[in-house]
């Protein structure tokens, strides 16, 4: 039997796999991923990874930036552990060969980043996630005992009597449905950006791990906190990294005016100033865009209103050495050259602060079930994640979850319960029936589009109670309709239509939790802004949202206290 079964082969999953393999070769570890691990969405991360390394910087300052950036919704014990372990994780990646960018003397280089008071963001040009993922993947190849299930899709967790016992999964290539018994399971499937129509997230980011846990009774946490990144390319939603602003890029409106100065983010300076203007936090920058739009100061394009990112003054050589991928992406996908042209950008759904509720070791309330990375909510990101905190997060908590899971597996050597077989059989029958398909009904893509536009309308940068309430009904209706969709592919081999249907149902569950949590939180905090409750309300809502799946399948929202250690709630101050 597998001791530690990891669902997801991105940064968190692979870091976890290596941690188990290194620590205890007798511990049997497997990675189940719906894509080959090096295709995972970690690959798209661009700007960098934060960890205190320079003399003059301190762990406390990284903590403070993270906690104030998160509008005091972070659990401070988790932030302290995260900040303390991040440097060793990034050095570990260096020891495994990650091509970090360097200073002239050979030391690792750092750059500024949004919401950070010090320069502490390590980078590999502007393909940091790509290099981090490939370094991890290639390092896993050293450990031949790591079992890989490449292109397998997990459809269900086997949970019996409050404890996880494995998963049911489909081998995509053949359509074979198998139950994989395991003593522990770590969910590391990443985020759920695809519930929105306009997102930086890859096609695979459908919230699978969140829904798997939620369906078995594990609560999700803080699902209303969806991060809009301020600079996405219109139409494609491709991310233009915050590093472009860290290297000196300006955000200007259609009149060429650096509009962030109108939103309490500081005064413009020719070179970047930390925690100010273009280096403010993402929630505040995306919100400023909406105000510019309302003032009529954005430009119109066929793909909606835009502002501009101006990199022209940086010059070709700085662009090529520090942010070459930005230039490559602009040339290939937007047909412009940032060395000479303005880049049209608009806010784009980028990251889910919420996720599966875990403790500081990644443990969920279901025994033996863990979660790490964007799938999880530990929580270090609170109401708004700071750029360059997510890469160290997947490393620190991937490893922590792995060590905790391995220990649980060693302490629970009992055999598999009967439930493994019966639940596996039930799930297999369900999936086989599903695959027979229907020739009538709506298409998966049509329902998906309706869901995405519902979410954008109700749970975008600004939210309102009555629109959210309507979205609750719309999503319930879509969920019912998703049981009766039309199906063209009744084959077993590489049936991506079946996968898309399963992903749609997954996303609908996640979407319901986002809307339910957003409706329940009658205040404005970080990335959650209510036009009908415009102020932060610490008396009622200095608390996490905790959402369970009720027996009738609807989300049921409660609150959970935030852990405060050393930083009492205060005002978020940027640029002054």
């Amino acid at each position: 039997m597998i001791d530690v079964l990891i669902v997801g082969g991105g940064g968190a999953g692979l870091r976890a796999a290596i941690a188990v393999a290194e620590q205890d070769p007798a511990c049997k570890v497997a990675v189940v991923s719906k894509v080959y691990p090096m295709r995972s969405h970690t690959v798209s991360a661009e700007g960098g990874a934060a960890a205190v390394i320079d003399i003059g910087d301190t762990l406390d300052e990284h903590c403070y930036d993270t906690i104030s950036g998160g509008d005091w919704l972070c659990d401070q014990d988790a932030v302290e552990a995260f900040v303390a372990e991040a440097p060793r994780e990034l050095i570990q990646l260096e020891h495994w060969g990650c091509p970090w960018s360097r200073e002239g003397d050979g030391r690792v280089a750092v750059r500024p980043f949004g919401g950070m008071k010090r320069e502490r963001t390590w980078y590999a040009a502007d393909k940091t996630g790509f290099h981090l993922l490939h370094t991890l993947f290639q390092t896993t190849l050293k450990y031949q005992d790591i079992i890989r299930y490449d292109e397998w899709y997990v459809t269900k967790l086997v949970v019996d009597d409050g404890r996880v016992h494995g998963v049911v999964a489909v081998e995509i290539r053949t359509g074979r449905i198998e139950t994989i018994p395991a003593r522990t399971v770590i969910l590391a499937t990443g985020g759920c950006g695809r519930v929105f129509p306009f997102t930086t997230n890859a096609a695979i980011k459908t919230g699978d791990g969140m829904a798997l846990a939620y369906r078995e009774g594990a609560p999700l946490k803080d699902m209303e906190f969806v991060q809009y990144h301020p600079t996405g390319l219109p139409f494609t939603g491709i991310l233009i990294t915050e590093a472009a602003r860290a290297e000196g890029g300006w955000l200007i409106n259609k009149d060429g005016y650096r509009y962030l100065q109108d939103y309490d983010l500081g005064t413009p300076t020719p070179t970047p100033k930390l925690r100010s203007m273009e280096l403010g936090p993402r929630d505040r920058l995306s919100q400023a865009f909406v105000h510019e739009q309302h003032k009529g100061r954005t430009a119109d394009t066929p793909y909606g209103p835009v502002v501009y990112l101006d990199l022209r003054h940086l010059g070709e050589s700085k662009i090529d050495s520090r942010i070459p991928f930005v230039r490559e992406l602009c040339r290939s996908y937007q047909n412009l050259d940032p060395a000479t042209d303005l880049i049209p950008v608009r806010p784009v759904v980028h990251y889910m602060m919420g996720g599966v509720h875990t403790d500081i070791d990644g443990a969920t309330p279901i025994a033996g079930l863990y979660a790490a990375g964007e799938t999880a909510c530990v929580s270090i990101n609170g109401a708004n994640r700071l750029g360059s905190n997510s890469l160290p997060e997947i490393l620190v908590f991937g490893r922590r979850a792995a060590l905790a899971a391995a220990e649980f597996a060693r302490a629970h050597r009992d055999g598999e319960p009967r439930a493994v077989r019966t639940q596996g059989e039930d799930e297999r029958r369900l999936l086989e029936r599903e695959r027979e398909g229907r020739r009538t009904g709506e298409r998966v893509a049509d329902l998906r589009e309706r869901m995405q536009h519902t979410l954008e309308g109700a749970a975008g940068i600004y939210r309102t109670g009555d629109v959210l309430a309507k979205a609750v009904d719309t999503l319930a209706d879509l969920r019912a309709r998703a049981e009766e969709v039309r199906f063209d592919d009744t084959g077993v081999a590489f049936n991506t239509e079946l996968l898309n249907l399963l992903e749609l149902r997954t996303m609908l569950e996640v979407a319901q939790t986002i809307v339910a949590c957003a409706l329940n939180r009658q205040e404005s905090r970080g990335a959650h802004q209510r036009t009908d409750f415009t102020a932060r309300d610490d008396d009622s809502f200095l608390a996490h949202s905790l959402v369970h799946r009720a027996p009738d399948g609807t989300p049921s929202v409660g609150l959970l206290p935030v852990t405060i250690t050393r930083w009492p709630p205060g005002e978020r101050v940027y640029g002054r």
């Binding site: 049936n495 239509e497 898309n500």
Partner: protein
């Protein structure tokens, strides 16, 4: 699906015909082309055309894609005879059409446009694509120093996204599946040339089916969407291997 079939969009906007190779294992004896008319939009990549087919016209079409920004390496296919990333290849390149989409050549087809790349992954593993160190390690409080010039020495080869276009284009690999191939050799060199690495991978590279199998046609480098230049990696290692045969203690 034994005869060529047509699925046509309603009249209106300009369209382009996509001829897509279809193959269902266990049912079709050989692949057939199926034609679809999709809107010819200025911003649409070939992948957007495929997604339009999948979402609106024919849900049974299978292909891989994910990031649609040229970095995950999933969506390589043969477009009008050339191996391309379909997310970065635009429909307007093909004017009036038709544009013909086939799976990457040189690999077994699983279904439609999806090919089996396990052989590539086995080859990648075989070159030990990880940092090889000997002796005592630095503690996790200190990084190994590496100057920008030392980084530059291998950086290009570290840009490989494992899309396997280079294998598809390689005339040697298509004829001899045992050939180690461009990306795996480039990634071996990525580590060989890394100042922190202490291995040289001579045993797996200095073989007839490895660097010496390459006939230096250079197609791999021409088709690489990330400008990695595997052809150069291979030629450089030939020199290294030749030197090492003469001077067995030399490393690179």
């Amino acid at each position: 699906m034994n005869a060529e079939t047509d699925t046509t969009e309603e009249a209106g906007a300009r369209t382009i015909r996509m001829e897509v190779m279809r193959f269902r294992p266990g049912e079709d004896t050989e692949p057939v082309f199926q034609g679809y008319d999709v809107p010819l939009m200025a911003d649409w990549a070939v992948l957007d055309g495929l997604n339009h087919i999948k979402d609106q016209l024919d849900g049974s079409l299978s292909y891989r894609w994910s990031c649609r920004m040229g970095v995950c390496g999933s969506c390589g296919m043969t477009v009008n005879g050339e191996p391309r990333l379909t997310c970065g290849t635009f429909l307007t390149e093909y004017g009036q059409g038709p544009v013909r989409i086939e799976p990457l050549k040189g690999f077994p087809v699983i279904k439609d446009l999806v090919v089996d790349i396990d052989d590539f992954l086995a080859k990648l593993s075989s070159v030990r694509p990880w940092l090889i160190r000997e002796g005592e390690e630095l503690p996790l409080t200190t990084e190994y120093a590496q100057t920008p010039a030392q980084l530059e020495a291998y950086k290009q080869y570290s840009m490989c996204i494992n899309c396997t276009l280079c294998y598809s284009a390689c005339p040697v690999y298509v004829l001899d599946p045992d050939f180690l191939g461009p990306a795996a050799i480039a990634l071996a060199q990525r580590y060989n040339l890394d100042s922190r690495d202490m291995g040289d991978r001579f045993d797996v590279l200095n073989l007839d089916d490895a660097v010496w199998g390459c006939t230096f046609v250079g197609e791999c480098t021409r088709v690489c969407p990330k400008h990695v230049d595997p052809a150069e990696a291979i030629q450089r290692y030939k020199l290294t291997a030749a030197l090492r045969s003469v001077l067995p203690w030399s490393r690179r």
